[in-house]
């Protein structure tokens, strides 16, 4: 199929960017979206033009590196997938596709479609861990039985890949789904209880400091999340924060 792509080009974080039109031809429906981008970039290089920069790495939906806002949706029109898992069979011959980077004040653009998500790392530094040193002497793993339901829910929260689709999707650029998922993972497990109060307070404080907006319960983040992280995690984070603050 042949396509028209409207892509955000921006030289670096200090230069103004703009949308630029590109034509790509002979795209197979079996290609992934990023393979389509590869084909376009190879064509640009051959023509002596600069290829479009975009983040990507594992190309199997788990590293959280890829981050494209396609036709007004984070990771494009399919559900439950990252951009690298999106396939061209979702599009048809003659389509115009708009491709933008994640847009949020807390995620400044580095180049073209590449953004800086280190704000997420800094929120994790503020409390996204259990304070246990490495030693061969921690207690036996089976000495703390954990209810299967709690373990499963913790796992569901822990599957967050930190891609930032929730922030990009949210009209307030809120990071609450991301932070809620991490807070929930530890809040649901007995190992996380000791530091629970400080953790939620510190992580939320850092989240606010980074300039992420607040949650107004529209639920768009949950719809666009490639890993199906549930809004329940935001509710749980708010409960934890309330508990920690009184």
């Amino acid at each position: 199929m042949d396509l028209t792509l409207k892509i955000w080009r921006q030289k670096d974080s200090n230069t103004k960017g703009q949308m630029v039109d590109y034509k790509v031809t002979e795209i197979s429906e079996h290609m992934s979206f990023l393979e389509m981008m590869d084909v376009m970039n190879e064509q640009l290089i051959t023509k002596g033009e600069e290829p479009v920069a975009f983040d990507h790495d594992c190309r199997e939906g788990i590293c959280g590196m890829c981050s494209m806002y396609i036709n007004g949706e984070a990771h494009g029109p399919d559900r439950g997938v990252t951009t690298c898992q999106l396939h061209m069979r979702m599009f048809k011959h003659g389509d115009t596709i708009t491709i933008e980077p994640w847009r949020a004040a807390a995620f400044p653009v580095i180049k073209d479609l590449v953004v800086n998500r280190s704000a997420f790392d800094r929120i994790q530094h503020a409390g996204g861990y259990i304070s246990v040193n490495t030693s061969g002497n921690t207690q036996d793993a089976n000495s703390i039985p954990i209810q299967k339901q709690a373990a499963d829910q913790a796992m569901d929260a822990a599957t967050c890949i930190g891609c930032g689709a929730c922030v990009a999707t949210c009209k307030n650029s809120s990071a609450m789904l991301f932070v809620g998922a991490k807070v929930s993972q530890y809040a649901l497990l007995p190992q996380g209880q000791v530091e629970a109060a400080d953790r939620v307070k510190n992580m939320v404080a850092q989240m606010d400091l980074e300039g992420f907006g607040n949650c107004t319960n529209t639920g768009a983040c949950e719809v666009e999340c490639p890993k199906g992280i549930s809004l329940d995690n935001i509710a749980r984070m708010n409960r934890e924060l309330m508990k920690a603050s009184i």
């Binding site: 640009l44 920069a53 180049k111 790392d121 530094h125």
Partner: protein
């Protein structure tokens, strides 16, 4: 230089404990005067950085991704082995040790593997303490599953995302140390050379991938944890950025490179669909617990299927060849990866492949649907259930176990694997070879260590499932933090290493020269053009089976391709900006050297062992034929061009395991 593996004396079960009791330690007050560089933040690098910082060292960690959490360890699906014997099926440290050495086809170092098995139990304890949500049963205790090549259930898992959860555990431990100021994290940085001062590794030259700036970083020791080199094949299950550069740069500065030809080709990957393909996707080996692998028994049926005239479901049981069950009745579909991969290739080479490219076999769950369905019907007291009802009940069970993998398959292939068998084909997955290290995990450069997939030591010629995560974390959490102290004990009075020295200046100038060449060359072909060509040579001549003639051709072809690359490569953009093509050019340049050494290593190893199968050396039944005279580690010393590399041999001795024919029949 003679190779000294520094294996401690004494009985194998006491070596590690005795060793730890007698090494030099660094006083906590002195640790804060010592700097350590860790390159790579996957399971090995991340766990090492966190643990070294907890101990009090100043750590500088480097990752080419935008966060340590994105290293490719995150993509490991199936699980992690540990000799916990929670299932009471007779597992023990010795059995895990034995399975790993046998699985590696008797080409790994006994003492290292025993230590790995020994600390495996600590890993699970440590990870649970960190809050890693492993799968549990209804009693709240940890669950296990079984993997290929073993007869016990010792694999711990977190759904199909075990690597992700373990890496996030190591990342959380790193975060705690970053917050304490003990780890300085350099995201989007790539190491481009190691700096030696008075023969010792004392720092690195790194490039900031955002600004293009070349930076000098000094330390008292350098740890390479940069993963495997599977991307030398272009198409592999590795991440797009996975590369050999850090390992190759230390090799060029004096670290020997061991067993480069030992590569694991994983049997259950989604087959290739076209020339545009950028990478291959793995389907967890755990699928082989419930899926049966087959091809049509008759050539005309295979042809009809390829042409779309027949469907796999049209074929009766008699018209199918369950070739693994036929050839290996004892292990069946759960033979080790090397055996399963070669068997698939053998069938496809004979013309029995089932997709358009002729490179695919079926992985069929129909029998499991019936087996689980009948079981469920009994549990639910259903009398005379219909076939449809049984299938429906069985599919629900399979969905609970592998739902995410089935969904992933459907998204990529656009076929419903509940209705038609999956198609799979082997793909490059893991590299057992890597930088040579001694028992301390130190390379042949003093003060330069290498851990995880980047080193060579624990998996021999083939790695068993669920043991890569185990090795990465063992090295990083429980081995390196001890062994490195023994070396650093001599450095407590050294003081800060200056970067303002001729050694740093010289290394930096070399790096800059190469980068300037790339951005100014403006040749005729893109970096990917060369990478794809290299990948094709590697796959066709150094792939699942190899022969002397093909390997000799590969050496010539790669050498010629490398020459062409250094004349005609085209890197757009400049060196003072975010430039992915420039970063890639450097990585492909190193792959073009490694690839030739790989072929050279495969050529001298005139035997078949594990993932290295030489067509000249097979039994009449087509099984790998191992030879006693090749019971050594090949460690290559850099001498300029790969053709001039000098071979050093480390003899492998087996005192605790009898070296036998590896049979899974």
């Amino acid at each position: 230089m003679a190779l000294d593996s520094k294996i401690p004396k004494g009985p194998i079960q006491d070596k590690w404990t005795d060793y730890k009791n007698h090494i030099n330690l660094v006083n906590p007050a002195n640790k804060r005067h010592i700097d350590i560089i860790v390159v790579g933040t996957g399971l090995a690098g991340g766990s090492a950085a966190a643990t070294l910082a907890e101990l009090g060292y100043n750590v500088k960690a480097f990752a080419y991704q935008d966060s340590p959490r994105r290293a490719h360890s995150i993509a490991a699906q199936g699980g992690i082995n540990a000799a916990k014997n929670y299932q009471g099926d007779g597992d023990s440290t010795y059995r895990l040790f034995y399975d790993t050495v046998k699985g590696g086809d008797y080409r790994s170092r006994e003492a290292n593997v025993y230590r790995l098995a020994e600390v495996s139990v600590n890993i699970i304890d440590q990870c649970v303490a960190q809050g890693v949500p492993f799968a549990r049963d209804y009693g709240g205790l940890l669950d296990n599953r079984s993997f290929g090549g073993v007869l016990v259930s010792r694999t711990f898992y977190a759904k199909g995302q075990t690597g992700q959860q373990l890496l996030l555990g190591a990342y959380s431990a790193m975060n705690r140390q970053i917050a304490r100021g003990k780890i300085e994290m350099f995201n989007r940085h790539e190491m481009l050379d190691v700096v030696k001062v008075d023969g010792k590794a004392r720092g690195i030259i790194a490039r900031n991938l955002v600004t293009g700036e070349i930076e000098r970083h000094s330390a008292h020791a350098v740890v390479i944890a940069s993963g495997g080199y599977g991307n030398v094949y272009f198409l592999s299950t590795n991440a797009m950025g996975s590369n050999v550069t850090a390992g190759w740069k230390v090799h060029k500065k004096g670290a020997y490179f061991a067993n480069p030809c030992y590569t694991q080709i994983h049997p259950t990957c989604i087959p290739r669909s076209g020339d545009y393909q950028s990478k291959l996707t793995l389907m967890s080996e755990s699928l082989r617990n419930d899926g049966r692998i087959w091809v049509p028994a008759k050539l005309e049926d295979a042809k009809a299927i390829r042409e779309g005239k027949k469907k796999p479901t049209d074929l009766s049981e008699e018209e199918r060849d369950y070739y693994l069950e036929r050839r290996y009745p004892a292990f069946g579909n759960l033979v080790p990866r090397d055996v399963a991969s070669r068997a698939a290739k053998e069938r496809c080479d004979e013309g029995f492949g089932v997709n358009a490219t002729g490179e695919a076999v079926y992985l069929d769950f129909a029998a499991s649907f019936v087996r689980y369905g009948e079981e469920q019907a009994k549990i639910q007291n259903l009398v005379n259930p219909t076939k449809e009802k049984i299938k429906e009940l069985g599919q629900a069970i399979v969905k609970a176990k592998y739902g995410n993998l089935f969904q992933m398959y459907e998204k990529i292939v656009d076929e419903n694997p509940y209705e038609t068998p999956m198609m799979i084909y082997p793909a490059v997955h893991y590299t057992m070879g890597g930088v040579w290290v001694d028992y301390n995990l130190m390379t042949t450069i003093p003060g330069c260590y290498c851990i995880g997939e980047a080193n060579f030591s624990d998996h021999g010629a083939n790695r068993l499932g669920a043991s890569a995560l185990m090795q990465g974390l063992a090295d990083g959490y429980f081995v390196l933090p001890y062994t490195i102290g023994d070396y650093l004990a001599d450095d407590i009075r050294t003081g800060k290493i200056s970067t303002d020295t001729p050694e740093f200046a010289e290394a930096e100038a070399e790096v800059k020269k190469t980068i300037e060449f790339f951005v100014n060359n403006k040749g005729t072909h893109s970096v990917d053009y060369y990478h794809k060509k290299l990948g094709l040579i590697m796959w066709e001549k150094c792939g699942m089976s190899r022969n002397a003639q093909g390997l000799k051709e590969a050496i010539e072809d790669i050498s010629a391709l490398r020459k062409d690359f250094w004349v005609n490569v085209n890197v757009p953009g400049t060196d003072k900006e975010y430039n992915e093509q420039l970063a890639k050019a450097g990585r492909v340049a190193d792959f073009l050297e490694l690839g030739e050494l790989f072929a050279k290593d495969a050529l001298i190893r005139e035997e078949s062992a594990g993932g290295h199968f030489r067509e000249e050396h097979q039994t009449p039944e087509g099984e790998a034929k191992r030879l006693k005279e090749f019971q050594f580690v090949s460690a290559w010393e850099y001498k300029g061009e790969p053709k001039d590399a000098v071979l050093h041999k480390e003899a492998l001795e087996y005192e605790n395991i009898e070296v036998k024919e590896r049979s899974y029949k």
